[in-house]
Every structure is written in C-alpha cells, then in structure tokens.
C-alpha cells in the first residue's frame, strides 16, 4: 500500500533545494508525497495531513529559525485530532554550529519523533518512516478503528 506523507519547509524559510530532493527521494521510495514547498505554517501541514489521511509529517527547517517555528507543533497536531502521527524534523535546525545531540534533545523535547541533521542518509530516513508508520498504523489507527 502506498502511504501518504506530507513534507514542507516551515516558517519563513525559503530554502527550496533540499525540499525538491526530499520529494524526489520519498516518491522514488514508494510514498505518495504531498509537498507543500517552502514557507509552510503549522496549520498548513496539519490541514494537508488531515485532508490526505497522511501517515507522517516531515518538517524541514534550514534557515535557523526552526527552534522558534517548531514550538507547539505536536500539541497542535493532537489538538486537531492527529494523535500520535509520526513527526519528523530535519535540516539546519538551529542558529549556529551546535552539537547535533543537543539539537536533538531540543526537538525531541518539542515532541518530534525523529530529528535529523543536514547530512543524514536519506535511505535511513525512508527506513525510519516505514518503521514508525507501521507502529502508528498498528497502535493509533487500530485504536481509532476500535473507538
């Protein structure tokens, strides 16, 4: 089954190149990719995910304001009924050159399931997606169906 995922670059961020590559990679990996492009607001991701019944949201932030733009994203998902939807974030997430593990702590703290640096191997991300979507389908959507 072709799973749907939503991707885009959050906030006021205009970096388009990585986004075009992510679309290409995930599409070739068999996903139905809804690409919102650059400068996407939290609600735009969520609208798209609800509309397309997506199984994961992948947020990019390249320009450094990720630490501000991503605040509250998880709560907003939950609020709007996307309970437990896999939330990935990747890119140059904070201002300046900082240790990746510190950056990871910040974004995990915000409720992102997976945090990736700019040099991530995208094949690894595809694997993570399959894995997390499987769990999501089993746990959350099963619960929903039962409810």
């Amino acid at each position: 089954m072709q799973e749907t995922i939503v991707i885009g670059v959050i906030g006021s961020d205009c970096h388009a190149v990585g986004n075009k590559i992510l679309e290409n990679v995930f599409a070739r990996a068999g996903f139905n990719v809804i690409n919102l492009g650059v400068m996407v607001s939290q609600d735009e991701y969520i609208d798209a995910a609800i509309e397309t019944n997506a199984r994961a949201i992948l947020v990019s932030s390249i320009y450094g304001h990720g630490e501000i733009d991503c605040i509250g994203m998880r709560d907003r998902c939950t609020e709007r009924g996307l309970d437990g939807i896999p939330l990935f974030v990747g890119g140059n997430l904070v201002i300046g050159k900082r240790e990746f593990k510190d950056v990871e702590v910040i974004f995990k703290g915000m409720g992102f399931d997976r945090v990736f640096g700019p040099d991530v191997d995208l094949q690894h991300v595809v694997d993570c997606l399959h894995q997390d979507i499987a769990v999501y389908n089993r746990e959350h959507l099963a619960v929903e169906a039962a409810a």
Binding site: S12, M39, H65, N92, K97, R98
Partner: protein, 482 residues
C-alpha cells in the same frame, strides 16, 4: 497597479511613502531631509560607492562577509570584530524581517535576549529602528551595506538608508524568485522601483547609495546567462529610478573558465545594455560570490572552496567578493569562523592580485557564448514587454523565458534544468521555454552528452541531484560512484 519601467513621479512616491512609513511603528522616525543630512556627515571611507569606485580604479578586489545577529550591541561587536579582516561590512537581515513579519522578529529579539544568544538568522533592522541603525554605522569604520532577501523592502530601505547604510542589496526579481513563494512579480518589481526611487532621491540630493542586484539567485547551478539577464534587468530598472552606482553580481559555479568568462561578460554586457538604454553617467562594478550552493561540512574542505572562490574572484577582476565561512554547511558562523573565511580570502586575493589570467581561445569562446545566450534571452524579454523591460520581465517569467532553477517562487516556471558538463561548467540540460539559439542548445546538449558518455549513463534528474550534492561531498561534478 499598472507596472511600467518609468521613473515614479515624485508626488506618487511621496504619497506611497507616507503609507510605507506607517507599516511598523519605527517608520515614523524617518525624515528624508534628516537622512540626507546624516548621510552627508559620513566620511568618504565609510561611503560604499566611493570605496567601490576607488577599488575599481585600482583594479583591486575587496572582500565582504555576511553577518547579522538579533541584538544591536552584539551586532556591533560582531561587525567590529570583522572589520579588521575585510574591506566592506554587511548587515545581514533576519528572515522574518525579510517577509515583513516584524511581530515575529520582535518575538525573536525577545527570545534572543532571554537565551543570551541570537536566535535570529540576521539583524532585524526595522524593529530596532533608525537610531539603532545609526549606532551601528557609527560604531564601525568601514562602509556598511544592507544584505537581505526581501520582496517588499520599502520600509527597510527607508529606515536603513536614513540610518546611514550606504549600500542596499536586492531587486524585484532577485529578492522575489529565490526568496518568496507567493509574491507576484508585479508586486515585487513595483516595490523595488520604490526602493530604487528612494535611492534616486538620495542621489538627487547628492548622496550616492550603491545598489546591488543579488546575483546568485538560488545559488544552485544557475547558468551564468540567466543570472546575468536578471542582473542587467534589475540594473536597468534601477537606473530608470535614478540609481547611479550599480554592482552587478554573479555566484561562482566552480569551473575556472566559465567563472572568469562570467564576470568579464557580465561587466561588458551590463555596460552595453545600460548605455543602449541611454544611460552614461553610472558607476558600474561587479561582485563575485564564493560558491553559493551546499558546502562540505569538513572545515578544511570548506576552506578550499572558499579559497578557490577567492582565487577566481581575484583573477576575474571582480570589484568585490562575498566571502563564505568554514561553518557554512552547518549554521550561522561565529565571528571567529567568519574571520577565518575572510583571512583565507585575503591571502589568496593578495596572491593572485597581480596575476593575469591568460587570454585564451577557450576563455574567449565562453565569453562569447554567454553573451549570445544573454542577448537571446534579453531580446525576447524586450519583445514580450513591447519595449518595456518591467512588463517584459513579468511576461517572460510567466512564459518561462526567464526561469531560475530550484527557486521556490510560484511565478517561476522551474522548467530550466541545469547540469554540469564533463569539465564542470554548468550547462542547460532542459531548456524549458528559455529561448536559446538552436546551435547553442545543441552545444549544451553535446557537452552534456560527452559527460554522460564518460560516466556511462544517460543524463537525468539523478545527474542533476548528484551535481547539487557534489561540492558538499568533495567533488565538483556529481559522478556516479565507481
């Protein structure tokens, strides 16, 4: 709004101005006469246009970093730390301000105060306002330019120019297409006519402000002719509004012959088109941007990319070079990293300064090729605009005649696909609707085929992707792994 390439009438400008100055509270402090007086008070060595002109006359290449942080005192400390290693200073504006989201910039300022470190990717000049901008200008001893990426940069221009900044980067195309998503080109060109008109007004009052169209566009495999066409159009639009000091720009692609040919042809073409449009009293200079695409994360490797850019900038005869840092792949550089980029650049500039890149058939060929490509595109733009370059530009983007690779703007066709040839020069893989002459297209096709043969694969989007990653993975050309 009826867009045309025509100097904005003063009354119309002033009426618009009143409105612009109310778009954020700090606008109310700006008085034009006071701005002129303040600019007049700046000494020659802090006037951007004058310093550029001198360098041009002496055949020197000046260096300039990018730098900007959230808070004024920190920003001053940063520029003071950099000015001993460079010739020209920037103030890079944060991304919220670029999109006129001053309320978010305000939040960023507050959070940065709390965090004790800048959480913004630039200096939010509008929020800080006129007096603070002057504090910056007064705290340093080199000319300062506003560098940003703002489709509607009217208020920013009002505040920073009255604030003593003496150069203003950007343009209605180059600060829309790579930087925005849904801003119409009519809108951004019109708003930049305002900025240029403001600069023209300063000019009328004896204050020369330098204007620099943003050359690199998306920074990613942009064929020289396309960025040249944009730079020339923005130059023409600026001249019409009264701008007289113009620095046309170009982002390095990494092939020595193409890069040197690009700067040479850019200068020659700009001069030619500006004169053909009836102007002859402008000061034309050039800027070379060190590689603007993805950088290697390894800092030693990054130094080589920086250095190579510096070497080509110097040998091409560019008037200034915009300098990257060893932190490029990762994040906004520290002052120290920024100084390292500048020091590396200074060393290589000094070492190539007196060297002449030899005249050769290959170089002459590449110069001629770029010139023919630019002329083909420009004449179509004029044709579409029925003689009006502003109108022609909007229609050319609609038609895909002007087309910037990898740009986010909705009004950009995105059909032009570049790829490197077997020697690393950027060529046109898919032309989309860009009207290159048939023999030129054949040439590009042949050059790309040569590479494809060498790699034993067909040219494809994967080849383009490989090229996008190549420099960050330590090569120029994205060859398949053996």
């Amino acid at each position: 709004m009826e867009l045309q390439n025509k100097k904005i009438e003063l009354p119309d400008f002033l009426a618009e101005r009143e409105q612009v100055l109310t778009t954020w509270p700090t606008g109310k402090d700006v008085k034009f006469a006071d701005g002129v007086k303040y600019q007049e008070s700046l000494p020659e060595h802090k006037r951007f246009a004058a310093v550029l002109k001198k360098a041009d006359q002496e055949g020197k290449t000046l260096s300039q970093p990018r730098a900007g942080v959230a808070l004024v005192d920190e920003h001053i400390a940063l520029l003071q730390g950099l000015q001993t290693a460079c010739d020209l200073l920037p103030s890079t504006i944060d991304a919220y301000t670029r999109l006129n989201r001053y309320d978010e910039a305000a939040k960023g300022i507050a959070k940065s105060r709390e965090a004790g470190t800048s959480l913004l990717n630039g200096f939010p000049a509008v929020n800080h306002g006129l007096a603070e901008c002057r504090r910056v200008v007064e705290a340093v001893d080199k000319p300062v330019q506003v560098r940003h990426g703002t489709p509607d940069a009217r208020l920013l221009a009002e505040i920073t120019l009255a604030g003593g900044f003496s150069a203003y980067e950007g343009g209605g195309i180059s600060y829309n297409i790579p930087y925005a998503k849904k801003v119409s080109l009519e809108r951004s060109i019109r708003d930049w006519q305002y900025c240029d008109r403001l600069v023209g007004l300063y000019e009328e009052h004896g204050i020369r402000i330098n204007r620099e169209p943003f050359g690199p566009l998306s920074g990613t495999l942009v064929p020289p002719f396309m960025s040249h066409a944009v730079a020339i159009i923005e130059g023409l639009l600026a001249l019409e509004q009264g701008v007289r000091s113009i620095t046309v720009g170009y982002g390095q692609v990494g092939n020595i012959v193409q890069d040197i040919a690009a700067i040479r042809s850019l200068r020659a073409l700009a001069d030619e088109y500006f004169r053909a449009a009836g102007f002859d009293d402008f000061e034309l200079t050039t800027v070379f941007h060190q590689w603007m695409g993805g950088f290697p994360e390894n800092e030693a490797m990054a130094f080589s990319v920086i250095s190579w850019g510096g070497a080509i900038a110097g040998m091409s005869g560019a008037t200034k070079v915009i300098v990257k840092t060893p932190h490029e792949a990762r994040g906004i550089p520290t002052m120290e990293a920024n100084r390292q980029g500048l020091n590396a650049t200074r060393q290589i500039l000094n070492m190539v300064q007196d060297q002449v890149f030899p005249a050769s058939d290959a170089l002459a060929f590449e110069v001629e090729l770029i010139k023919r490509e630019v002329r083909a595109v420009m004449s179509k733009v004029f044709e579409l605009g029925e003689g009006d370059i502003a109108v022609g530009t909007v229609r050319a983007f609609e038609a895909g005649v002007l087309d910037v690779p990898f740009a986010p703007a909705a009004c950009n066709a995105g059909k032009l696909l570049p790829v490197r040839d077997n020697h690393g020069a950027v060529r046109v893989f898919e032309a989309g609707q860009v009207p290159l002459p048939e023999d030129v297209l054949t040439l590009h096709r042949d050059l790309i085929a040569e590479r494809a043969r060498a790699e034993g694969r067909e040219p494809s989007f994967q080849m383009v992707v490989d090229d996008i990653y190549a420099i960050s993975k330590s090569t120029l050309i994205g060859r398949p792994a053996k």
